[in-house]
């Protein structure tokens, strides 16, 4: 009896083990992270980027190391379609032509393998349609292939090292031999699903998203856009005309690359952004006790500038219709004063500012003394003035509105970008030679003199002193200095660790898992808030705000000019919070094209970029049976079905023989 019980228990345990449910599809597929994929964008006339077929594009993996590997499979592949897994440097126009000429390729997987000399898929002249005339006579980005702006008929996926290893292993085990029998055997294949909903151009997809007759309303595309950040050095809360004439210090906030979720942007915009923030910080400390000033400073961080100057076009548009910085609201007793384009006395824009021997000051046509002021305050590098054509920059949007505005673009290049990786995934920390030192405040000895931190500190010192000279009218004589520790920390925030000290200080919380892509320097779409833009805005507020002893620390609705934030007292003292009063605020960076009711898309006046919507971005690997085997399976299934239909027919017609009915010798009730 005992033995029997024991056997039953053993049997049950075995069954429990067998009953463990693993779905067939989970056994079949190896699923990878599919987010780093090229996707589709649209402007008023074209679509660019990539899309897979509906339900995913499938191809046999072919691991490529050199161009000859690729040409080999294009010439000798006998399978139905392939997806080459190739190094990033092979993605260039010549290889693409080769692939497109041959119908064998259904998609591309790219991996990162070695350092490159240059890699930029931006155009040779960025934003060529929105610049001032003649800007594109110069090839600013000479290495640019323009691939970012091509419409590609297949998906492109960027793979990380772990996934690449699995793909390579699968390729060696199943594919990498006897290529002539590829059509006859099971092969390791990959499915890239990045099906894009929108096509043709922005007006088409906007129209289709808003159709009233549509039974199945779908949003096809979202306009690119985000928030601009602005702040003033002195509050505009008095009636002095000097507080309403502005020296503008501007920089851009965004970058782009070919792949979703990989937007490093070290040289552009991070070097200029950090220089901007460090200048603002220094300038604020310089003017702490100043009361008499000739001019105010407007700090302006513009978003979406990589896509035909979305942010600056919108700022200019708002200035034209008296809606900048805020829309005039009737209930405010102290409305925010308006800023108009004619209130700008000098426009200083920071472009690429990675380490270099010489700085270049690109002047506008309208002459200003800014170069001589900068030169007088420069004690660390050569500085040159460049007249003539301005490089592509946000200032173009302002100059279109007011041709005789004086200004300058400060950059480390004269006619061609020093940065060989503009708007690419290689524009990362190593491209600007950055290393994080994690020093405490005041102890900068550890950071070498030739580091990017020191370079940025020197540039911002020069800028801050020059702006001080412009707005106060005399040279700075105090003993405040730039904070290299802050610069080190800011670079760390934007390049390495978003959960850095500055972000903890301004947001008063540790970053948890953030929704993907919300912490990137890509402008994104207006319907999804970009958390990094908010963090940068708060950082500017933290650096340029005044500590107040307001106990409430809350915004007064009648005085919309000021915002109040509880933020850490300093980087070394994150847990003590004080209340900051700041003029920092956000302004919408959505192209005017999307808010003007009867905008003529053909005019090309404003940026018209939008991003297609999609449902899934997924990548999975599996063993695809030979087509003969697939046909065989289908045939077996079909034959079984037809046979069973025939069988049922015969059974039914002969039912009276097969199932004889009993003699009807009983009454209805007792049968």
């Amino acid at each position: 009896m005992l033995l029997k019980d024991f056997l039953i228990i053993i049997l049950k345990l075995c069954l429990i083990d067998w009953g463990y449910a693993v779905r067939v599809k989970d056994v079949m597929y190896e699923i990878f992270d599919g987010r780093t994929t090229c996707f589709r964008r649209l402007n008023a006339t074209h679509q660019i980027g990539c899309s897979s077929k509906k339900g995913g594009s499938i191809g046999i993996i072919h691991y490529v190391e050199t161009l000859s590997d690729l040409t080999f499979i294009l010439n000798n592949g006998t399978g139905s379609s392939y997806i080459p897994v190739m190094p990033l440097q092979l993605l260039k126009p010549s290889t693409l032509e080769l692939i497109l000429a041959n119908n064998l390729v259904n998609g591309i997987v790219l991996y990162n393998n070695s350092a490159l000399e240059s890699y930029t898929h931006e155009r040779t002249c960025p934003n060529q349609l929105s610049n001032l005339d003649n800007t594109c006579d110069i090839a600013w980005n000479p290495e640019g292939t323009g691939l970012l702006y091509r419409d590609l008929p297949f998906p492109i996926h960027y793979v990380n090292d772990d996934d690449l290893h699995k793909m390579k292993q699968c390729f060696t085990t199943f594919n990498n031999y006897s290529y002539e029998t590829h059509s006859k055997r099971s092969l390791c294949s990959i499915e890239l699903d990045a099906f894009m909903f929108a096509t043709t151009n922005t007006p088409t997809c906007r129209r289709r998203s808003h159709l009233k007759t549509n039974l199945n309303p779908v949003k096809f595309c979202d306009p690119l856009g985000g928030e601009n950040v602005w702040s003033t050095l002195f509050p505009m809360d008095d009636n002095r005309p000097s507080s309403k004439t502005f020296v503008v210090l501007a920089a851009r906030l965004d970058t782009t690359t070919l792949f979703q979720s990989v937007f490093p942007g070290a040289v552009s915009p991070i070097t200029s952004l950090v220089t901007f923030l460090s200048t603002a910080d220094y300038l604020k400390r310089m003017v702490r006790d100043v009361d008499n000033y000739d001019q105010n400073v407007l700090f302006l961080l513009l978003n979406g500038e990589s896509y035909d100057y979305i942010g600056s076009q919108r700022v200019v548009y708002d200035m034209q219709r008296n809606a900048f910085p805020l829309k005039q609201e009737s209930d405010a007793t102290n409305p925010v004063p308006l800023i108009r384009v004619k209130d700008i006395s000098l426009f200083m824009e920071l472009s690429h500012l990675s380490k270099s021997d010489t700085l270049y000051v690109h002047n506008t046509k309208e002459a200003s003394n800014i170069f001589s002021v900068l030169q007088a305050n420069n004690n660390f590098s050569k500085i040159e003035t460049v007249d003539g054509v301005l490089p592509p920059a946000s200032i173009h949007s302002f100059l279109k509105e007011r041709e005789n505005m004086s200004g300058a673009v400060i950059a480390n290049y004269k006619h061609t970008y020093v940065n060989k990786f503009f708007n690419s995934i290689y524009d990362n920390a190593s491209n600007i030679d950055y290393r994080y030192y994690n020093v405490s405040e005041g102890d900068y000895a550890e950071i070498p003199q030739d580091s990017i931190q020191h370079f940025t500190a020197n540039v911002s010192e020069m800028l801050a002193k020059s702006i001080y000279r412009e707005i106060i009218g005399k040279d700075y004589a105090g003993n405040e200095t730039t904070r290299i520790g802050l610069i080190d920390e800011l670079y760390n925030c934007y390049l390495l660790d978003a959960d850095c000290k500055v972000h903890q200080a301004v947001q008063r919380k540790k970053l948890r898992e953030t929704p993907y892509n919300s912490y990137s320097l890509y402008v994104g779409v207006t319907v999804v808030p970009n958390l990094l833009t908010y963090a940068i805005g708060l950082t500017l507020a933290w650096l340029t705000g005044n500590v107040t002893n307001s106990t409430m620390c809350m915004k007064d609705t009648h005085t919309p000019l000021f915002q109040y934030f509880n933020m850490s007292a300093s980087m070394d003292n994150l847990n003590t919070t004080v209340c900051y009063r700041t003029t920092m605020n956000f302004s919408e960076a959505l192209s005017p094209a999307f808010i003007i009711d009867d905008y003529d898309w053909k005019s090309g006046k404003y940026s018209s970029w939008s991003e297609s919507t999609w449902k899934d971005l997924s990548v999975r690997m599996f063993l695809k049976p030979a087509s003969a085997e697939e046909r065989f399976t289908l045939a077996i299934g079909s034959i079984t079905m037809i046979m069973s239909i025939i069988l049922i027919y015969f059974i039914k017609t002969r039912a009276n023989i097969l199932f004889p009915t009993p003699e009807q010798n009983c009454s209805q009730s007792n049968c």
Partner: protein
């Protein structure tokens, strides 16, 4: 309704009604009429009303064929030119396919 159980004049009445109602842009009704009364009109032994039923069935057939041609050519023209017609084509669409021009 089972035609087998119906009287001949009832059949004629029904067939005539289907034919008439078909004029209200309901070609599918004509097609149903043709299929339903085909046996009555052509394969049943002769009876008085059959001549009339036959006529309605033939006219229904002609009508549904004409309609079929019209609908088919519209479908072809629309599908071929949908992208080219742009805004007009979108306005008269109830469902817009994803990811195609």
């Amino acid at each position: 309704m089972d035609l087998e159980k119906m009287t001949n004049d009832k059949k004629l009445y029904l067939c005539k009604w289907y034919f008439k109602v078909g004029f209200a842009c309901l070609p599918f009704l004509w097609t149903v009429n043709v299929i339903w009364f085909f046996n009555e009109a052509f394969r049943k032994p002769k009876y008085d009303e059959q001549q009339h039923i036959k006529r309605y069935v033939i006219f229904s057939f002609i009508g549904s064929v004409i309609w079929g041609i019209i609908i088919l050519s519209w479908i072809i023209a629309f599908q071929v030119n949908r992208a080219k017609w742009g805004e007009f084509a979108d306005d008269i669409s109830f469902i817009i396919p994803l990811g195609v021009p």
